[in-house]
Symmetry: C2
Subunit: 144 residues, 2 copies
């Protein structure tokens, strides 16, 4: 419940990845956890309320560092790149109308893992990770 075991504690997360815990980074990590699939600009805006002088390049650099160290994943879309914290394999639901993105529970980890195994078994390809985006209409947009 508290203390250094908390996996969502930015300082612990950074330390585990061997990265220095600067105030800016702590805030960036926190926002990537708080926000849902944020863009660089969204993280920048969120962090700026606490650190008005932070540079956009720092946000870019930090998100790249996080990605390189396995803390986060880049999700390139047609118009923007979004980021998400690395968790279990999962699908993302992307609304083609309002652009909302949410994690999908209906496609289980196990199925996604099973797909990787199947590909490695069948294809001459050593499957490691995957990205599954499902496009359609979210509840609100489907209703309208």
């Amino acid at each position: 419940m508290s203390g250094i075991r908390n996996e969502t504690e930015p300082v612990a997360i950074l330390r585990r990845a061997g990265l220095r815990s600067t105030p800016q980074r702590i805030a960036i990590v926190r926002e990537v956890y708080n926000l849902s699939h944020p863009t660089v600009a969204e993280v920048y805006e969120a962090v700026r309320s606490e650190f008005p002088s932070i540079g956009l390049a720092t946000v870019y650099n930090t998100l790249k560092t996080m990605t390189d160290n396995g803390l986060a994943s880049e999700l390139p879309f047609a118009n923007v790149t979004r980021y998400e914290i690395n968790t279990n394999a999962h699908a993302n639901l992307v609304c083609r109308k309002c652009g909302a993105i949410e994690d999908c529970d209906a496609v289980e980890d196990e199925l996604l893992e099973e797909i990787l195994k199947r590909v490695t078994a069948a294809a001459s390809f050593r499957a490691e990770t995957q990205r599954l985006d499902i496009y359609g209409l979210c509840r609100n947009c489907a209703a309208a």
Copy 2:
């Protein structure tokens, strides 16, 4: 075998989508079929051997038009956007080392369709299409 029924005939493809068949477009459509998941620059280079004066903007515009009219799909990656002809649902195998991309047969259309149905049934989301990228090592890179 020949004539207007040929689905890969650029003129027929363009006409079916209600687009004008200019020489440049015909060449662009042909190259998107010939090349595997090409980038804008790759299509541009390929078409330039036939039309040295073609503008890069024309390639951008045409690929966008094709995407808007359901002929092709954009595949945004971290560094570049690639394009592919719209076909059956399928997964793409992306090598994290050499960057090669190939269509995956091991994940069947049916499974992907089934996932969409499952999501629509379970989640409050009307699933329509999807993009599944599987990352790992291709045959060559896995061997090395």
